[in-house]
Symmetry: C2
Subunit: 784 residues, 2 copies
């Protein structure tokens, strides 16, 4: 009551500033006020509204009296500051309550630990899923070639493990395992190879068809690598359903199908998507994360670390990947949580042990020979070639995607997938090393050559040390000291062919409309493919492939750490660093964007790149809306507008928020209100508040202005008003504005000069301006 009295008193008194300039006979009308610049700060309303005597909520969204307030629409950008404020308010409320009762205290403690618990669950779930995917893909890949008579659920390896008739010489041949030709025609050698080939292609087509149909029917978001979209989501964009349960289910199934179909794609990028889906779904069980978009993104950052951790078996590499490549906002707290989640996931995967070698790392390879200083030159050269190839790959892939997008080609995704699969399968079968699945290929290549080994790669002749040239070259290595036999040379050119083939087909595959196609595997598989063949050449192949991956993704530190964890090549840190750094420089010199950023731009997502600085000399005034020729900014006044007027303004415009000013004349900023909140509140008032009609006043002030008793009750919207909108001046250079948007994660910012509201800058305006400055089409930015 005291408050109200003070408000009313204050309201009727002329302000001291007005007195100073001696305004006589001016009726201070609330709806058209002259800014009362009195010294007690009260500007157009009651004083008590900004110095909380009984600590009212700043943003009253927490109460959720009206459902929907404080949420976002699909394909919109979130406001990080608002979300984080919400979280802190929530935290404070819990802390305050916890002082009063034991139950609340327990709740407060469980709330504090819920973040770590969530990380634990994400790690467990992602690790388990990754293990399951590995096992299923292995089985289905073998299904393309034959079936186990002991039980169709055994894969080739398990089938023959159980058999007594397996010999050491031919350990992958046993009577229980029948190729399709053997099963149907009954003959195992000769011309039936055509039948095997046919069955191989058919299975591949079936898997690919199933995958593409599933994706199209149930979860269109399950297509693609997922990393560009996840990057965009992490930067604060809403794509509903992109990380939902249907996407998770379909992505998991189609990942298995697509890998089994033999397409040149890997499960690494998609595993990041799967891990993020897990995280998003698990978030729903924790109020703290369900309701808060910013907190949820912190969890998703950690989940992307988990994805890489289970894909490569490289937990630290995963954390760095999330930091360097994917995440937008990555505070130290998230670093620690990512670290923990990646650890749990790696541990879970190791417990499931899909590769049967009881190691975290799939294949532990070591380069033990110290390198010579002069070797740096070839390593750096390989880095240059890798960078060039990476830049070319991005360019070719984007051109292909643009072609698909702009021509009729894109209308037939199912056919496109089937054609690519057909080509891949037809061409892959004849060469032994492309026919194999990645895991088979790896086992083939990485098992140490025993004396009784049947693999062609072990076809070394055993007269060790007879020819001096060969011995010199490979003296350090016991295996290399044996001469290469003819079988090995066949294997070598087949592998080289496989490499070229994989590279070309990957360009066409990445970004195709099936599911989870990724550059990672290409490099990973090939690294492994060539790693152990010839002791002297493997290093150089390895470096070339690392450099290519560096050129494509522009990762540096994370790539080195991943490779480090994959291969244990501690000795080679310095050359590896040199190669990746060179590759990044070369690729950056050709084009600034990594494959992910190129795809983000292709899709027109509102992604404010944090890596590059804004270098142009423009001011906030050049970017803000309205332009000089446009009609003035649509604003609401803090009082004096009727429900009908507000509704008309909402209907006439499409802006996602409106500044609230004291009066149309003064344009003195009071706050900012979001369109969605406004619409919901007005609807709610019309429906639930008694006596609200079209002529009811809409008030954004905390205390009522005096109204005639006969007037209908006013709609009070003070609680949806953001009283601390971000402002810059017209003089603020755009580089600073861009910096503020990036670092604080703003959605919009108001432009004032000397306390007078002049315009507004949204994230989309900034992106359009940046596109314009870079001579690109500003209309390519599609979303808010």
């Amino acid at each position: 009551m005291d408050n109200g009295g003070f408000c009313n008193n204050n309201y009727h008194s002329g302000s001291s500033d007005d007195e100073l300039v001696d305004i006589s006979d001016v009726t201070v009308n609330f709806s058209e006020d002259v800014p009362p610049l009195d010294l007690d700060y009260s500007a157009g309303g009651c004083k008590a509204d900004w110095r909380p005597s009984n600590s009212p909520k700043l943003i009253d969204l927490l109460d959720d009296t009206v459902p929907g307030i404080g949420t976002y629409e699909d394909f919109n950008t979130i406001d990080w500051v608002r979300e984080k404020s919400k979280d802190r308010d929530r935290h404070r409320e819990i802390t305050n309550k916890s002082k009063h009762s034991t139950v609340a205290l327990l709740f407060s403690i469980s709330d504090a630990f819920s973040g770590w618990l969530l990380m634990l669950l994400i790690g467990l779930m992602s690790g388990a899923l990754a293990g399951g995917i590995d096992i299923a893909a292995h089985w289905m890949t073998d299904l393309k070639e034959g079936v186990c008579l002991n039980g169709f659920w055994f894969n080739h390896e398990h089938c023959c493990w159980a058999s007594n008739e397996t010999t050491f010489q031919e350990r992958d041949k046993c009577p229980q395992w029948k190729t399709w030709a053997e099963l149907m025609v009954g003959v195992s050698e000769g011309s039936v190879n055509v039948l095997n080939h046919f069955m191989y292609v058919s299975w591949a087509l079936l898997f690919a068809f199933l995958a593409v149909i599933l994706v199209r029917a149930f979860a269109p978001y399950a297509c693609g690598s997922g990393i560009p979209e996840i990057k965009t989501i992490l930067s604060g964009f809403i794509i509903r359903g992109y990380l939902g349960k249907w996407t998770l289910i379909i992505k998991t199934i189609t990942l298995v199908l697509a890998v089994s179909s033999g397409l040149s794609l890997g499960k690494e990028g998609p595993l990041v998507h799967v891990a993020c889906c897990c995280a998003n779904i698990l978030c729903h069980f924790f109020t703290k994360y369900r309701r808060n978009e910013a907190k949820r993104r912190e969890v998703l950052s950690a989940a992307s670390a988990v994805g890489v951790s289970v894909a490569f078996g490289a937990p630290i590499g995963g954390v760095l990947f999330s930091l360097e490549e994917v995440s937008y906002y990555f505070p130290l707290k998230t670093l620690w949580r990512s670290f923990f989640a990646a650890l749990v996931a790696a541990f879970t995967l190791r417990s499931i042990n899909p590769f049967g070698n009881s190691r975290l790392v799939l294949f532990y390879v070591e380069f033990h020979t110290p390198w010579h200083l002069l070797e740096l030159i070839p390593f750096v050269l390989l880095g240059i070639f890798g960078g060039l190839w990476g830049a070319f790959f991005i360019h070719a892939n984007i051109a292909w995607c643009r072609l698909r997008k702009n021509t009729r080609l894109g209308h037939y995704p199912v056919i496109e997938v089937l054609v690519v699969t057909l080509l891949t399968a037809l061409l892959a079968f004849p060469i032994e090393y492309t026919r194999m699945s990645s895991s088979e290929l790896i086992s083939e290549l990485f098992n140490d050559c025993g004396l009784l080994d049947s693999s062609k790669l072990c076809g070394y002749t055993s007269n060790s040390g007879s020819t001096s040239g060969s011995v010199n070259a490979t003296a350090a290595n016991g295996l290399g000291a044996r001469l290469a036999g003819p079988g090995l040379y066949t294997a070598m050119w087949q592998l080289a062919l496989a490499l070229v083939f994989k590279m070309l087909i990957t360009v066409a595959t990445f970004g195709i409309k099936v599911t989870d196609l990724d550059v990672f595997l290409k490099a990973k598989q090939n690294i492994r493919a060539v790693l152990r063949i010839k002791p002297q050449n493997d290093k150089h192949f390895f470096f070339f492939l690392i450099s290519t991956l560096g050129g494509v993704t522009r990762m540096t530190v994370s790539l080195v750490v991943i490779m480090f964890e994959l291969t244990g090549g501690l000795e080679y840190i310095v050359p590896l660093m040199a190669a990746t750094m060179t590759s990044k420089w070369v690729a950056d010199a050709l084009s600034r964007e990594s494959i992910y950023e190129a795809h983000i731009r292709l899709n027109g997502y509102p992604f404010l790149e944090a890596k590059e600085e804004f270098r142009h000399k423009t001011l906030a005034t050049d970017v803000m809306r309205p332009r000089q020729s446009d009609p003035p900014l649509s604003v609401l006044t803090q009082s004096g507008m009727s429900v009908e007027e507000v509704e008309r303004l909402i209907a006439d415009t499409t802006y996602s928020g409106f500044p609230v000013v004291i009066s149309q004349q003064s344009q003195r900023l009071v706050g900012f209100v979001l369109r969605r909140d406004l619409v919901i509140s007005l609807e709610n008032a019309r429906r639930h508040q008694e006596g609200v009609v079209s002529v009811s006043a809409v008030l954004f002030t905390e205390c009522d202005p005096p109204a005639s008793p006969s007037a209908p009750p006013a709609v009070k919207l003070h609680n949806i008003l953001d009283l601390s909108p971000f402002t810059v001046t017209v003089h603020t250079p755009m580089e600073i504005v861009v910096d503020i948007f990036r670092k604080l994660g703003l959605r919009q910012c108001l432009v004032i000069q000397n306390g007078r509201l002049l315009g507004i800058i949204t994230k989309k305006d900034i992106l359009k301006h940046m596109a314009q400055m870079a001579n690109r089409d500003p209309e390519s930015i599609l979303f808010n």
Copy 2:
């Protein structure tokens, strides 16, 4: 001229808003204006000043017409936004010029590459210095025990290498190497040990005395670990001379002396300081970095990565250390540069090869046995103990430092150092493993035990595999299968004693007033000390020490990576992660601060911690100055003040900056001017501008107000005015304000409500407020 004309016209016309409210007979006096809220945005001056037609400079500091403008005073905080703006302006200027001439183009290219060149130089210089320090410290440590007759500059090892009379059994004994007792008395055995002990202690005292005298006489900043101060400097604080050439020279010399004197300190933390000094000195050769405090801090971030890279031989660990522990502002660009610099430094160190093993990593140790799942339990337990010990260590160390600071103890630093050295040397000599320098100790422990080895640690009895209990325990390891002889047990308890002794003495040593004392070595040395002794126990010792280090420094990811690079223990990533994470949790539960942060707080540096969120429910209005009871804010008006008035305001106040408003009555914000810039400009005007007297007007507007012809010429200060000061509203929650300060690196922020300036919040205000909220003494924040 057009401009000026427009200004004057506009100036005399009444604004449209005034007309609306029908003000009659009001003389619009410039110095007491009513805010003219006309629709063409002009508020109190000329319109053209904010829409640049001929693109004037926004912040004209670049011109440096007046030397000193745009610089900072000692012990002050920098403004990151201003510094970055300056850099971007500079960059744009160079880019623009490069379009006109080839020379400018070449200059522009060299400017673009100067960052990478600087990184190269820092890497080379730090690597070379680190190599030199290693070699010198090794020699001087040996000098404490004896001297080489072939040449006093040989260390023990080199002396005996050259000798022909060295046998395998006693490879560290040769006639050329004489202990002091042998040299002086001529006897080598028996009671002369006392003489050796005396010489050992004397040398140690001499080295320590030299070190402390050098530090006190030439470079007081060379004392201590350096990391707390570097952390503060990186957060945007100025400590002149802290990274200067004298500090570098003295720190390098005293580092060698202090390590040689046998004090329980390491060269790791100090090497970070040395690398930062190198970086700071090298910055002086590049205009881009010499003139810009923000750019220089980016370089220093990279340099701290270099320091760790050369200290541990762990380049990736160094980058992560810089990211996780030291740096404040660490964009991806800095990540890549740190990566490059760390690589160069590691490469240089490897080329110098101070350890003679042609490896980057000092001691390459591998745990090859896979770990069992159950082993996680002891690892986590060790993590808990490590965390507890770490928290205790911090507490004890801070208590000791506080005691030293507050009592008479701190008045005698030289005596303190000598006492600690005396104690260390007296106690260390009798135990073989504490007497040795770290490098000797390591060679002793890490060399694989040959059959002819003289070391006690190799005293295994050779009846391998006779007793079954021992065989079970150590079956996996060939060395362990031999039974431990009695010599080994002696070695074991001596080492355990050494461990306890080192731990206690380190508490007293860290932060002592000599030079470069660090926690790192304590753990590092001991890790190495215990790593190879008993195959089964070394792991647990190792984990305990890692955990302690984690508890003391609160590092997680970087610690794991450093250990990973040091030991090659790829297999043990998961347990290592689990142990460090547990240790961090436990230590955090006891106290939130790492040793570095505790020391920062002890010293009262203005460091805004980025790790913890501000959780209190206060508003900007609760923190801003002036308080309600205080006199109003000291402001300048954009015109209407005389030189004398401004000078009086400067003399009467101590604020480091003043807001500029349109008029005292309206308090409508125009911009912000820094005290230092103002003082320099006024002095400059008085000295160089003709006709400036005390009654001359001071103008912050771009165009002149009409003045009587007889008036003295005005001092125009528009160019030092920051037209885009950061503002928040009174309603802005402090959590958001803190966030803005942290993320944008602000120095101050103005508080407005409805366009009216109400107050100012500085970084110091925020720190004081935070201290108050945490029930600490707000006066402990000493600097601006």
